[in-house]
Amino acid sequence: MSVSIENLSVAYRSRHGDVTAVDSVSFTLADGEIMGLAGESGSGKSTLGNALIYLDQRMKQTGGKVRVDGKELPIADTKAMRPLRMTEVSLVPQYAMSALTPTRKIERLTSDLLKSHGIRNRDEVFAEMKRRIALIGLKEDVLSKYSFELSGGMRQRVTIILSTLLNPSLLIADEVTSALDVSTQRAVGEMLLEFRDREFIKSAITITHDLSILAQIADSIAIMYAGRLAEKASTDTIVNEPLHPYTQALIASLPEVGVRHDQTTLRGIPGRPPSLVNPPAGCRFRDRCPFAFAKCTETPPFEEVKPGHHVACWKVSQEVGKQ
């Protein structure tokens, strides 16, 4: 197992006390696995991703362990994390389009980045960077440009090259395709696959609200709802045989090419997720769930109902138990 996360909880400090945005989340990632993490805004998916890289002043770890390649990742200790960033874990931030400083050319920016991470053999790294730039079809002269001279898709791809330059074990890609046109989206998605196949990255967590992108690039998908994991399984299983009512509703609400309003009427999910300040006890999807029953006032465990298929839902646990 290249990455294992056990009962990780992350809270934001606030005037009303701690707000737990990530609540006892556990999952593992195999070598070479790209896991998609999907959920609505406010579900805690970006918080989870950011926590694995940098806990800022507002955040704190309230429990749990993260292990990467068998070693514990000291996510609560910002100083100890410093040498591990970029080499062990790396992030492609949300809004990566604006992640590149406008005052430095890409080459200078890269060199500053490498220096600050104490990398000695910078010439070798640069040679490798040029190879990767050529691989994905960019011209080498992007290095001598300012970020604003590049198109959005180019900037996104340069940011991914930078984040993966030191071959991190785990790459966290936060909404890398959301702001792009369909054709560029596909190019960026395929680039992630290619980088995984070439072992530039060992495993990746792709955070997005767009399930159809994940269906293209992810090996497994985890669905997050109001700070907790609802379901995790292989991409095929999530897309074709989802068990959690939330996942089912989410999949059913997606329009596909070829579906027209006069043939099929798609359905949204009524209601909205509960506030994470004093969340209700029990299953958090209860209020919007068509199958909710008395047992749902207790918190459902996130358990493995079939090999490799984890679900947190009483209804599913009961049905599987009966079989």
């Binding site: 609505e40 805004s41 040679a127 040029k130 190879r131 730039i133 050529a134 691989l135 994905i136 079809g137 960019l138 011209k139 080498e140 001279e149 590049l150 198109s151 959005g152 898709g153 180019m154 046109d181 369909v182 054709s183 560029t184 989206q185 596909r186 190019a187 998605g189 395929e190 680039m191 696959l193 290619e194 196949d197 609200h209 767009d210 399930l211 159809s212 992108i213 269906a215 293209q216 897309v239 074709n240 509703a249 989410l250 999949i251 609400s253 997606l254 329009p255 596909e256 090419v257 070829g258 579906v259 027209r260 309003h261 009427t265 798609l266 359905r267 949204g268 999910i269 909205r272």
Partner: protein, 354 residues
């Protein structure tokens, strides 16, 4: 019949750089929007789709061409006439979070409409009218009235803005990427709302970059590329039997749940004697000369963006200054000349390749 007619509309934006130059954002775009019809305008960034919406809302003045509503040229409206025009034509935009002033309650958007259009209406009639509008967008008045914007979800905010448009006698709604910032679970509700409004006779110009959403709601589709129409026609025909290479490329790149992209692994990078990468054409360096079409397309887009910077956005380099010289037309006229549209089958127009 309140038909909105866009006729040969072009828009040139002047570049702000010192070197000057122009960007042709729209090139002689023509179409008609009939009552009860949804047209989706689909295109990538820079294709001019938002500019069309703005021209229709009279937020941008076209360089040439006219927009007529009910047979009247909208450019000729003066203040009073314009007020009447906005009574019938309204817009809702992408980001609901920045459409509201966070200091005021969200329902102030209704109050502003009342101050301009419904001064004589009594409080009782007004609240009745609001209830009706909220009912049409499936919002519960108790859930949204008197709340601040941050207390509402994105879907509620967006529906509130549509309700605001419905207070007026709205005939045409310009919906510019109105659901791209919403969560998947609430997106469909807004889409279904548009379908419902369309059935009651509202004409909708649905601007989007998402092909599956466009396909779901629209009757007719316009695919825009570099400000000109690439393909236009009944949605079933454009999506079912795409004729333009660009439309096909877009469709092949749409991520679908049940169909995987064909990912072709990239070939080895050519390495020179000093160990550094040798720049090659991506098309040539790929195994058996075949690359993923999306990657190839993306790099073409990059080349174009790059070329634009090199010539400081001088449109002449992009659109052939030599052609201008040989035909005796001005460079601007050549730059604004769209590729000719041919009728492929009834209600299905395809542009010639550029």
């Amino acid at each position: 019949m309140s038909t909105l007619k866009v006729d040969q509309v072009s828009k040139l934006f002047r570049a702000t750089s010192r070197a000057g130059g122009f960007t042709p954002a729209l090139r002689k775009v023509s179409f008609e929007l009939k009552p009860g019809e949804v047209i989706s305008l689909i295109g990538e960034s820079g294709s001019g789709k938002t500019t069309i919406g703005k021209v229709v809302l009279r937020l941008v003045q076209p360089t040439s061409g006219t927009v007529t509503f009910d047979g009247k040229d909208i450019a000729k409206y003066s203040q009073h006439g314009l007020r009447d025009y906005y009574r019938h034509v309204q817009g809702v935009f992408q980001d609901p979070f920045s459409s509201y002033n966070p200091i005021y309650r969200a329902d102030r958007v209704f109050q502003l409409v009342r101050e301009v259009y419904f001064r004589g209406v009594s409080d009782k009639d007004w609240s009745h009218k609001i209830d009706e509008a909220l009912d049409a967008v499936a919002l519960n008045p108790g859930d949204v009235l008197g709340k601040y914007p941050h207390q509402l979800s994105g879907g509620q905010q967006q529906r509130l803005l549509i309700a605001r448009a419905l207070l007026l006698d709205v005939k045409v709604l310009v919906a510019d990427e109105i659901i791209s910032m919403l969560d998947a679970s609430t997106r469909v509700d807004v889409l279904n709302l548009l379908v419902k409004l369309k059935r009651s006779g509202l004409a909708i110009l649905f601007v989007t970059h998402d092909l599956s959403l466009g396909n779901y709601v629209s009757d007719r589709t316009i695919i825009l590329r570099h400000g000109a129409i690439a393909e236009m026609g009944a949605t079933a025909k454009v999506f079912g039997n795409p004729q333009h290479d660009y439309t096909r490329m877009l469709l092949s790149a749409v991520p679908e749940l049940h169909k995987k992209w064909q990912h072709t692994a990239l070939g080895p990078v050519a390495v020179g004697s000093d160990g550094s990468a040798v720049a090659t054409d991506i098309i040539e360096s790929a195994p058996n000369g075949h690359v993923a079409p999306a990657l190839a397309h993306a790099s073409l887009l990059d080349e174009q963006a790059h070329a634009e910077h090199v010539v400081k956005r001088d449109f002449r380099a992009r659109f052939g200054g030599s052609k201008a010289a040989s035909t005796g037309k001005s460079a601007v006229a050549v730059a604004l000349e769209p590729p000719p549209l041919n009728e492929f089958e009834p209600d299905h127009w395809v542009a010639e390749p550029e």
